[in-house]
């Protein structure tokens, strides 16, 4: 796993973005950017600068699931690993996220260890 990879963190609450960025930094990922919803995130992703997307689900404007669907529908982005970090906990929603092609799903409230484990798992699969 390349620790210099560029990560986009999408959440409508700035405090949650800060928490995730801090946790990512502790894991050695310092190359992170932020966006506050899918509408802001998608054009950023389309610049092709990002290697990994961490997104919330429930956001005003474009939600995380819509962002995921847009990413998977875009030829240049469709292979990008996506981790969802969200308070959405209904089984239907998790199944929908899986069907939309999510690579990992973390429910809030979460711990640093869970975040690390999911990221490790995603990149283990990609690297193997």
């Amino acid at each position: 796993m390349n620790k210099d990879m560029k990560i986009l963190v999408v959440d409508d609450f700035s405090t949650m973005r800060r928490i995730i960025k801090n946790l990512l930094r502790d894991l050695g990922f310092t190359n992170t950017d932020e966006a506050d919803d899918g509408n802001t995130a998608l054009p950023m992703l389309q610049t092709g600068k990002y290697d990994f997307l961490v997104t919330d689900w429930n956001m005003p404007g474009m939600t995380g699931i819509e962002l995921l669907q847009n990413v998977r529908a875009d030829d240049n982005l469709k292979t990008m690993p996506v981790l969802m970090v969200t308070a959405e906990a209904k089984r239907d929603q998790i199944v929908a996220a899986a069907q939309a092609g999510v690579n990992g799903y973390v429910v809030k409230p979460f711990t640093a260890a869970v975040l690390k484990e999911k990221i490790d798992k995603i990149f283990e699969r990609i690297d193997s």
């Binding site: 939600t63 239907d92 998790i94």
Partner: protein, 261 residues
């Protein structure tokens, strides 16, 4: 409102009793061939029904008015300033206050944590290096000039340690104080919860009264279930009692692995 409900039940019961008696008379008259008499009874039934209906609608309107008035705050504001009087308005202001307070506290805490972390990692890094040098000293592997350098560094480190740990302590105390929002937001949320309960009770009463009107007019409502599809709902409550909701990360992992993840 319970007096009101009692009164209303009384009216509806009287209407039903009257209806029974009148339909019995209607049958008698039709059976005996007195059609004009029967027509009169039909008119009577209509009148009773209309009168009862007007009473019920009147009562419903009055309750609606009372309920709306109940949502308002005390007489501190002018009685005709509906906007300022509205408790609902007040409640959304209060909730905005909670959002602001929690946001401020979270940001302050994050600021302090981000400021403190470099102190902790700085202390750790220097301590690791000094420990290594100290080990060499104890194993008598150190030259005198190296020892002088170490002694200087040790002096600096102890100096820095007392300043930095002070800073860490001060920041931790500030983080502690930043949690004071809980008391204030807790009180506000309790008040708003109380209001929501009150509003709910009033609404349930109104629905009950409207149901009586429906039974007199014989109205049946078709209420369609709204299909919301997959959309964000925010955190779920009472997850341990619900089948359609996961209770934590382990549940999510199990579900995903059952889907082949």
């Amino acid at each position: 409102m319970s007096d009101n409900t009692e009164e209303q039940n009384e009216t509806v019961r009287a209407f039903e009793d009257g209806l029974k008696e009148q339909s019995y008379r209607l049958k008698e008259l039709v059976d005996s061939g007195d059609i004009s008499g029967a027509m009169e009874v039909i008119n009577e039934i209509n009148e009773t029904r209309d009168r009862t209906l007007y009473q019920e609608v009147g009562r419903l309107t009055r309750s609606l008015y009372e309920s709306i008035r109940n949502f308002h705050v005390d007489s501190a504001v002018p009685p005709h300033d509906e906007e300022a009087m509205s408790k609902m308005n007040d409640a959304s202001d209060r909730l905005t206050y909670v959002v602001d307070m929690t946001n401020k506290a979270a940001n302050k805490t994050l600021d302090l944590v981000e400021e403190t972390m470099p102190y902790a990692s700085g202390i750790k890094e220097e301590a690791v290096q000094l420990k290594e040098a100290w080990g060499r000293l104890q194993r008598k592997e150190m030259k005198p000039e190296e020892f002088r350098a170490l002694s200087g560094r040790m002096d600096e480190f102890l100096q820095k340690l007392s300043v930095d740990s002070d800073k860490v302590y001060v920041n931790l105390s500030e983080i502690l104080l930043a949690q004071d929002f809980q008391d204030l937001t807790g009180q506000v949320i309790h008040r708003v919860t109380g209001l929501v309960k009150e509003v709910e009770e009033n609404l349930v009463d109104l629905v009950r009264m409207a149901g009586k009107v429906d039974s007199i007019t014989g109205t049946v409502h078709d209420i369609d279930e709204v299909d919301r599809g997959i959309e964000g709902e925010g955190p779920q409550m009472n997850t341990e009692k619900r089948e359609d909701v996961v209770s934590g990360q382990d549940d999510v992992d199990d579900l995903l692995s059952s889907l082949g993840f």
